[in-house]
Structure formats: C-alpha cells, structure tokens
C-alpha cells in the first residue's frame, strides 16, 4: 500500500481536486450533476411524452393526407364513449383482464400456499426457481407455444378439443404468460403470515379451512391485489398474444396498434390508449388503501 504515504504529501491543486472541493461545499451541485442527465432523459422521453399523448388525443388527422393536424377536437374521445365498436372492445378487454386475473389468482393461491407453508425449505427453493424461470423465457415464445397448442392439428386437437384461435385461446395464453407475476407476490405474502397465528387459531379449535378463511386470507389481501395488478394491467395493454392466438378478436391493444399502423390515425390511437391508462389508474387508486402498492 503506497497510497497513504503519497497522500500525506500536500496534494497538488489540480482542476479535479478543486472540483471535488467545490462539491464538498455545495452538495446540491453534486446532486444536480448526478441527477441532471438521467432525470432530464426520463422527463423528456417519458413525462413530456405522456403529457403529449394526452394532447395528441385531442387532435385530429387530415382525412386526405393522414397527417396529424393540430386542431383541437373532442371527436376521438366522443367516439370512444359513444361508438359501439369501442364500447364492445373495451368491455371485452376488461372482461378478459378480470378472467385472466381470476384464473391466475386461483392457481397462485394453492401453489403459493404450498410453497410457503406445506413444503420444506429445499423443495421451496426449487419450486421458486421452477415458477420464476419461465418469467424470463421470452414473452413471444410463450405466446407462440400456445399457438402451436391451439392450432388446427396441434396438441389440443389431437386430444379432441378444438376451440381454435379466439377469445378462449387468448385468455388461456395471457393467464399463462402472467402467472409467474401473480405467483411471486402471493407466495411472498404467505411467507410473511406468521406460523404462530395459524397455530393459535388451530389451538383455539378452528379447522384448517376456517383458519384459512378467517386468519390467513385477510392477511393476504394486499399480496393478492399486488399480484392482480400485474395480470390485470398487463392484459389490458396486450396485443401481441391477441394477434398470435386471438384470430380476429379485437382488444384495446390491437385497436391502438391498428390505429398507429394500418389506419395511420395517431390521435385516435392516443385516445384509445387513454382507456387502459385511466382504468389502471382507477384500479390503483381503489386498491391503494389496502397497502398492496407496497407489495409490488
């Protein structure tokens, strides 16, 4: 170690040193220097553009050139509220999001409970990895996997089940893709339920089911909602899986994508995109009191 001896000599007054001293005296400058670049990036690229999306939803496109015209109109929003197509698609997407969430929670509750409370630590560690691993397997490949299962002549038709591509296939596929996002918070929630409470309940004579319903489940609400936030909001915005296994089914996501691409009507797409944003915000506001947001 030679550093101490060299440091004892009076350090040369280089520019770097002077800058360092200035930072010691003015910590705010240091903060600004650190945060300036990343915050500037995020604010410009994300916050400004989120606001800009709102504004664009109030603009219109030229019906001849498809160029965006910066003239204010409420037409886009009005169409979403009044036109049957938009209302039907919104309801269908919401329904699918609710169903996907119910399926995932129904699977995640017993699985999460088993992982946290039934099996030993070794099996638990293995199961955590087993359920987490597919989280990182490509989203696209997972949707494609279900395409090869639902396709005519594929795995399901070989079993004599032929729902084909459509809403059912979409819901199953989305439930599959978001399952790890729901299992993990619910498992973590069960982990946090103290065994002593469960034992006390059973000492007081409650049977297993009663203990689960009266003691464990109320403690689990935040974790369940945390999981539900994932499956619900991710389903609301999905369009890739819908394209891959949904046949001609329209979701909010496919409407947005078609309006940007095929139809070239960005203001309309922006207006449709506000629907999932508003729904998710309302959902988050509604569940904020349960403390679920701290479980994310």
């Amino acid at each position: 170690m030679t550093a101490p001896t060299t440091a004892l000599a009076a350090p040369p007054q280089t520019g770097v040193r002077r800058a360092s001293r200035a930072l010691d005296r003015h910590p705010r400058v240091g903060l600004a220097a650190l945060l300036g670049l990343p915050l500037g990036w995020l604010v410009v690229v994300y916050v400004v553009s989120l606001g800009f999306l709102l504004i664009t939803a109030l603009w219109q496109t030229d019906s001849f050139t498809n160029e965006v015209r910066m003239e204010w109109t409420l037409d886009n929003l009005e169409r979403i509220v009044t036109q049957d197509l938009y209302r039907a698609v919104t309801l269908r997407t919401l329904g699918a999001a609710v169903l996907v969430t119910l399926i995932d929670v129904a699977i995640a509750l017993p699985v999460g409970y088993a992982m946290a409370k039934v099996f030993g630590p070794r099996a638990r560690a293995a199961l955590v990895i087993a359920f987490l691993m597919p989280l990182w397997a490509s989203y696209l490949v997972k949707a494609y996997a279900w395409r090869s299962i639902f396709i005519e002549g594929g795995l399901l038709s070989s079993l004599g089940i032929t729902p084909g591509f459509g809403e059912v296939a979409t819901i199953v596929t989305l439930a599959y893709i978001w399952l790890p996002y729901v299992v993990m918070p619910i498992y973590a929630g069960f982990e946090r339920v103290p065994d002593s409470l469960v034992e006390a309940s059973s000492d007081l004579g409650a049977r297993n089911l009663r203990t689960f319903a009266a003691v464990v489940l109320p403690l689990m609400y935040p974790a369940i909602i945390a999981g539900a936030i994932f499956s619900f909001s991710l389903t609301l915005g999905d369009y890739i899986a819908v394209r891959i296994v949904g046949g001609s089914t329209q979701f909010l996501g496919t409407l947005i994508y078609d309006n940007v691409g095929v139809a070239g009507n960005v203001p309309m797409a922006a207006a449709v995109a506000l629907v999932p944003i508003v729904v998710i915000l309302l959902f988050l506001l509604a569940v904020r009191r349960t403390g679920a947001l701290r479980n994310l």
């Binding site: 903060l31 990343p38 800009f52 039934v118 490509s138 996997a145 002549g153 795995l155 297993n208 991710l234």
Partner: protein
C-alpha cells in the same frame, strides 16, 4: 396448522398440475423444433435435425440477431450510465421529490408495454417529426432498461460500508478518486448483473420495439413475429424460439447468481 397426509397429497397434486401447465407449452415448442411436420402437427410423426441446419443457414434470422445485439448493447450502455447516476444520487442525497424520481425510473416498465410504445411513437413521429429507425429504438429500449441497472446498483450501494469512503477521504483522495478506487470496484459486479438483465430485457422486447423501430429495422423478436404467420416457416421459427429462450435465460440466471453470491459475502 397440522397438515394431514391427504391434504398434503392434494397440495402436491395441485403444484404438479401447475408445473405441468407452466412447462408443457415450452416442451411442445422444444419437441416441435425436431418434428418433421411443417404445420405444428401433434404428435410429431418423426424427428429430424433438418430445421436446425436450415435455421443456421437463414440469413434473415442472423441479420435479426445482429440487429438485436447492437440495440441491446447500445441500450445497455446508456442504461448503465443513467442507472448508475440515479442510484448514486438517490443513495447519497435526501431531497424533496425523491419518491417521485423513484417512481419515474420504474414507470416505463410498470406501465403496459403498449402505453410506453404509443407514448414514444407519438413523441418521435408527431412530436419531433423523426423517422423511426435504429436510433429511436435504442433510445426507447434504454429508457425502460434504466430500472434494472438502477435497482441492482442501488441495492448494492445500500449494503456498502460508508466507512471506506470516509477513510478514503481522510487519506486525501478527492471524490472522483474515491469513486474510481473505492466505490466502483465494490459496485462492479452489481453493475454487471444489472447490465445482463438490461441486455436480456432489451433482446427479448417486442411491443415497444414494434412501435419505435420503424419498418426497416428487424430485431429477432420482430423476425419471429413476422415469420410466425408465414406458411412453411413454422419449423424454423420453432428452432429460433428454442434458441431465444436459452439465450434469454442464461444472462438472467448468471445475473441472479452474481447477486446471490454478493449477498452471501
């Protein structure tokens, strides 16, 4: 709660079913990659290695791999710088709006991909009048990759011993020297793990990519998506899908291992 044998058996059965639900679809893709059928027919009549050779010789797929690697590397590099700066700032300073900054970092990944996609598409095209291309794609990917680097770096900084930084200052090192010789070496493995996650995230992303890449830029997920619907391409898509799963799991597994090892220390 005492768990009786039948209850235990029920749980074992449920978990086994859930595991089957999770892994059977992935196995179907794996088996199909060796199937002689061109139309995903099940069960496969016989097995072949032909598609692996054809996939390896597919110029389009390789080009897409190249594009994906370039995008993921650039996005990761930007995210590394921005994420580390954020982590240092939020670890060292207390300031008004800290929570908001935290939220802002997470937001691009917390909102559904389609929202991030349309928001960025609208900014680039309508707002700035840009033509979509490699540049806009890299900016978009970097934006949602910041959070992985930030999370890893911040968690590590929290665990670091502040005494070392103080000791370095006492010994006469200025802030920059301390960062270079004391903080950075301790941060290195966390940054590497964060970078791996960012790379994996970017490599695998399709939704934001479709909205911000423009028609001329084909990443690997876009290539798969386009070829999925083409008749006769299914076998090659299967092979590429298997490779993609392996390629995206390896960096994540590595990153988790690095983090686990760091926690043990």
């Amino acid at each position: 709660m005492r768990i009786s044998k039948p209850v235990r058996a029920t749980f074992v059965a449920i978990v086994a079913l859930a595991l089957a639900f999770v892994y059977v679809p992935l196995l179907v893709v794996l088996v199909n990659a060796f199937s002689t059928s061109q139309a995903l027919a099940w069960p496969p009549r016989s097995l072949t290695l032909e598609w692996w050779g054809r996939a390896a010789a597919n110029a389009g797929a390789w080009q897409a791999v190249g594009t994906s690697v370039v995008v993921a590397l650039c996005a990761t590099a930007i995210a590394l710088v921005l994420g580390t700066l954020c982590a240092l700032a939020l670890d060292r300073f207390e300031f008004f709006g800290k929570e908001a900054v935290n939220l802002l970092i997470v937001l691009p990944i917390a909102l559904p991909g389609i929202v991030t996609g349309i928001v960025l598409n609208n900014l680039f095209r309508t707002g700035l009048g840009l033509t979509l291309g490699l540049g806009t794609l890299i900016v978009s990917h970097a934006t949602f990759c910041i959070v992985t680097v930030y999370n890893n770096a911040f968690a590590r900084l929290r665990r670091l011993n502040g005494n070392l930084v103080d000791a370095s200052a006492d010994l006469g090192a200025d802030r920059f020297t301390t960062f270079r010789l004391v903080t950075l070496p301790q941060l290195r493995s966390a940054l590497f793990a964060g970078a791996l996650l960012a790379f994996g995230l970017s490599f695998d992303e399709i939704i934001v990519t479709q909205f911000t890449a423009g028609p001329g830029v084909t990443t690997l997920p876009i290539w798969i998506f386009q070829n999925m619907f083409r008749p006769g391409q299914a076998p090659i898509v299967n092979v590429v899908a298997v490779v993609l799963v392996i390629v995206s799991i390896v960096p994540i597994a590595l990153a988790q291992r690095l983090e686990a090892r760091a926690e043990q220390r």
